[in-house]
């Protein structure tokens, strides 16, 4: 896995290295089975179109889980995700490349915990932010966890 991230390594404005995902219809089916979310707009194209949608759409929580992957991969094994909020603002279509990104908005020490807040987003190929979110993570400080 990647190197451990420490509290001292990030500053307000630091960017999280982006993660590009390209969900396929197969992945949507896998997600439906794994999550138990059988909302038909995620696998039945005819039904989705009859409801005025462009086709099957990527479930919000799958896109949200891409943001989860981004942030947990970034903070490393010793980091802890405390809060993650996502607003599903636009529709993502399978086959489109989705770029998951984030930026540090605040860092502070609270009750001895080294907290970092980030703004997160999922951007489609047109550059539209279809999901926006926020995360609060706790990172280890350098020197404290040398073992």
């Amino acid at each position: 896995m990647t190197e451990q991230l420490y509290y001292e390594d990030v500053a307000v404005g630091s960017e999280i290295p982006p993660l590009v995902k390209q969900p396929t219809t197969r992945q949507l089916v896998m997600w439906a089975g794994a999550s138990g979310d059988y909302n038909p707009i995620h696998y039945d194209k005819d039904l989705a179109q009859s409801r005025g949608l462009p086709g099957v759409i990527v479930p919000g929580q799958l896109a949200g889980s891409f943001l989860g992957q981004l942030i947990t991969g970034w903070i490393g094994e010793k980091g802890r995700l405390r809060k993650l909020s996502c607003s599903y603002k636009g529709m993502n279509l399978p086959g489109e490349a989705l770029t998951c990104g984030g930026r540090v908005s605040q860092k502070y020490i609270e009750q001895g915990e080294h907290c970092v807040e980030c703004n997160l987003w999922v951007e489609n190929e047109k550059g539209e932010k279809t999901v926006t979110g926020m995360a609060t993570v706790v990172l280890p400080p350098r020197g404290s966890a040398a073992s």
Partner: protein, 152 residues
């Protein structure tokens, strides 16, 4: 959560009331299927040997697995209230307190926090916010999650 279908007005009458808790068994295979669906290679979720040496001492579920625990009941309830309707997901707000591990059982308690209705492009749209509380088998609070679902 009520097992009988409720109308939107019936759901409004239940705002703030806790539904029947439901227990979910967390299994390694369930976690693996979930991370394969996301295509997340993080070894903490799937590599026993790596995870054993981590601060957790074993595999844990990725945090975004928590909001899907019991989510199908929310969808079912809303779809029964809006027959023939279309459901969209509006937002998820997750707060994590403890990791979830394979072999644990998680009890989910759901209540309706708020219902708003407004006229949109697609006719009347209903925005329903649910609040879920997750506890493990030791009765420790594992997470809380607010889910907003839109029906029209």
């Amino acid at each position: 959560m009520a097992e009988n279908p409720l109308s939107i007005d019936g759901m409004k009458a239940k705002i703030g009331e806790e539904g029947e808790p439901r227990v979910y068994e967390i299994e390694k295979g369930m976690i693996l299927r979930f991370v394969q669906a996301i295509d997340d290679p993080n070894p903490l979720w799937q590599d026993e040997e790596y995870a054993r040496k981590s601060q957790y001492g074993g595999i844990i579920a990725p945090p975004t697995l928590i909001p899907i625990i019991g989510f199908e009941r929310i969808l079912q309830q809303v779809s029964q209230s809006i027959p023939q309707g279309t459901l969209l997901h509006g937002a998820t707000e997750l707060e994590c307190y403890q990791p979830v591990r394979p072999g644990e059982s998680v009890t989910v308690t759901t209540k309706i926090a708020n219902i708003r209705e407004r006229q949109g492009k697609m006719g009347k749209m209903t925005f329903i916010t649910f609040e879920n509380t997750y506890k493990n088998q030791r009765q420790e609070l594992v997470a809380r999650c607010r889910q907003m679902v839109i029906g029209y």
